[in-house]
Amino acid sequence: MSQQPLLKVDNLTRRFDVSKPWLNRMIEREPKQILTAVNQVSFEVEKGKSFALVGESGSGKSTIAKMVVNLLNPSSGHIYFDGQELSQAKGAAFKSLRRRVQMIFQDPFASLNPRWRVGDIIAEPIYAFGLESDKLKVQKTVERLLSTVGLTGRDRYKFPHEFSGGQRQRIAIARALSANPEFLVCDEPTSALDVSVQAQILNLMQDLQDEFNLTYLFISHDMSVVKHMADTIGVLYLGGLVEVNDSQQLFNQPVHPYTRMLLDAIPDHEMTGRRRTPVTGEIPNPINPPSGCPFHPRCQYANDRCKQEVPRSKAVMNSTVACFAAEEGRF
């Protein structure tokens, strides 16, 4: 691929200090407690494509999303958008980067200010980024955006509580679009919605991707949603990427034992009777991660090496996997 990726995440790490207050620590003689939410994650997203991050709760998906939109600073590592490093950009360049990367939040009931009219909500980014200041033109833009996401222009007079969850998520999408972004970070945009509405929102997002040539970073814990949306999938486990592959490849031929476990957990209506490996164990405590490969306590292929060494991402079996069992062909 000659083209440079639109988003490049390089060795991204984020630690949180979750220790007790200083005085308690002194008295109880406890050390500082550091939680590593995201551990040396690297991936690239090409323009016009969708990259999906999947993983269980607590795997660091949302933390990555917040760092990409600059709501949270990385502890180490770099995020490059269109070749520019996010944390180095200042002033006008920073503002323009901010505008080009927008986010759709998980909970449409919390992401819209309950006291604002829909029209004001959608117009906020337009004014904040100084895209337009003429009231009449802004109003036109808002109406156009509302009809783009399948609502009517008159809805701008209403308050968020007059809409259903799906309609609210459409409003949230319209707000994100009003900044004229190139890149949308979608943090579980459908997890708060009914299944029937989920499909509508996902289809809308795909239509918008074609219409505005958007690039998505899609975050989800739902494999079937991801299958529908993503070109490339990254599987997160305990803050680290364990497997990155083309969507189709990943579903047809999962390599990492964790990916296999996730895929086995997808319910299917056909009742194919295929043998499943039941999901066992829980995601470990990230304050106290297991030694070696973080997945080894739940892995049926784990051996002594997995318990001691940390696997690095390597190209194995048409995929990029961090797994010794895959490297050594121990399946």
Binding site: V69, N70, L71, K95, R98, Q102, M103, F105, Q106, D107, A110, S111, L112, N113, P114, R115, R117, E124, P125, A128, F129, T152, R154, D155, Y157, K158, F159, H161, E162, A172, R175, A179
Partner: protein, 318 residues
């Protein structure tokens, strides 16, 4: 929240604020409770009485030239034995009409109450927003100051400020500044409640996604606080403010009763009660009783309104 718009779909014009107010849950819960309607009417009546005192009051009790000392100690609804003048609620020792004195007194009491609540809310909301949004040492500092503040009883604080003001200001200035000294002392002992409530609401609001979205758009922090968070934390403040108004009026009366408040030349309700209690045992009961009743009714009505507002705005208590 409690506003409900009629969602007809076709007519999507913004529904008028009156229509919305009359159709709201708040209004329905209001109209269903006769006690609350009564307290609202009484409160409004007392407010109107105080506001229009110069036009409504039968006499001007603070104009010494209009007073006749012979009218002193006239019992209510009885003709004075010397002058033959009759007063609805009687007169005090200097021949001042009690009814008019109550009207003017309520005016001063209410002014002090509103001003004190306004000032306390201003200080409390600003500090609460700041503490809740910034967190860290700013939060720690503000909240420790609030804790220290809370450990001083309001009356003690007011007496302290009063004492200092009296020794610093010349007597003539002091007479004029009394009202403001009262307002400041009541506000200073009352802001902590607002600060604590606003701080805790701010802390929960600032993590909501709509605030994060605004941060994403690069909206500066003061604007986020003012336009996003403030409207969403005002509900509880309204409730505290209403109850706080009753408390401020009572505190003002207490201070005036203790003699550190409004001077007898321009009596507030508390001052009237204090003047009257000197004569209580000599049989002139009306001088203290009627101002006290007014205070009681006013404080009770405002308090009932505040309680109702708290319940009505809190869906979990419904």
């Amino acid at each position: 929240m409690s506003e409900k718009t009629n969602v007809t779909g076709d007519d999507a014009k913004p529904v008028s604020i009156w229509h919305r107010a009359l159709d709201s849950d708040l209004f329905h819960s209001f109209i269903r409770k006769p006690v609350i309607v009564a307290s609202a009417i009484i409160t409004l009546a007392i407010f109107a009485m105080a506001l229009f005192a110069p036009w409504l009051a039968p006499h001007t009790p603070f104009d010494p030239s209009s007073l006749n000392l012979m009218d002193g100690f006239t019992p209510p609804m009885t003709a004075n034995q010397f002058s033959g003048n009759e007063y609805v609620l009687g007169t005090d020792n200097q021949g001042r009409d009690i009814l008019s004195a109550i009207m003017y007194g309520t005016r001063i009491s209410l002014f002090v109450g509103f001003a004190a609540v306004g000032l306390a809310a201003l200080i409390g909301i600003s500090l609460g927003l700041l503490a809740g949004y910034k967190g860290g040492w700013v939060d720690g500092l503000i909240m420790r100051i609030a804790d220290v503040q809370l450990s001083f009883p309001a009356i003690l604080l007011a007496l302290l400020i009063f004492g200092v003001a009296r020794s610093v200001l010349p007597p003539r200035v002091m007479d004029e500044a009394t009202v403001w000294v009262l307002v400041v002392s009541i506000a200073l002992s009352d802001w902590v409640q607002y600060a604590r409530t606003v701080r805790s609401s701010t802390m929960s609001e600032k993590n909501k996604e709509y605030v994060q979205a605004a941060r994403l758009f690069g909206v500066p922090a003061p604007l986020i606080l003012l336009r996003h968070i403030l409207p969403n934390v005002m509900g509880p403040v309204l409730v505290i403010g209403t109850i706080g108004l009753a408390l401020a009026i009572i505190l003002e009366s207490t201070l005036s009763y203790l003699g550190v408040g409004i001077p007898p030349t321009q009596p507030s309700l508390g001052t009237l009660i204090r003047i009257g209690q000197d004569f209580l045992f000599s049989g002139e009961w009306w001088i203290t009783l009627f101002p006290a009743l007014t205070l009681l009714v006013l404080a009770l009505s405002v308090n009932l309104l505040g309680d109702w507002l708290r319940d009505a705005l809190n869906p979990r208590l419904r």
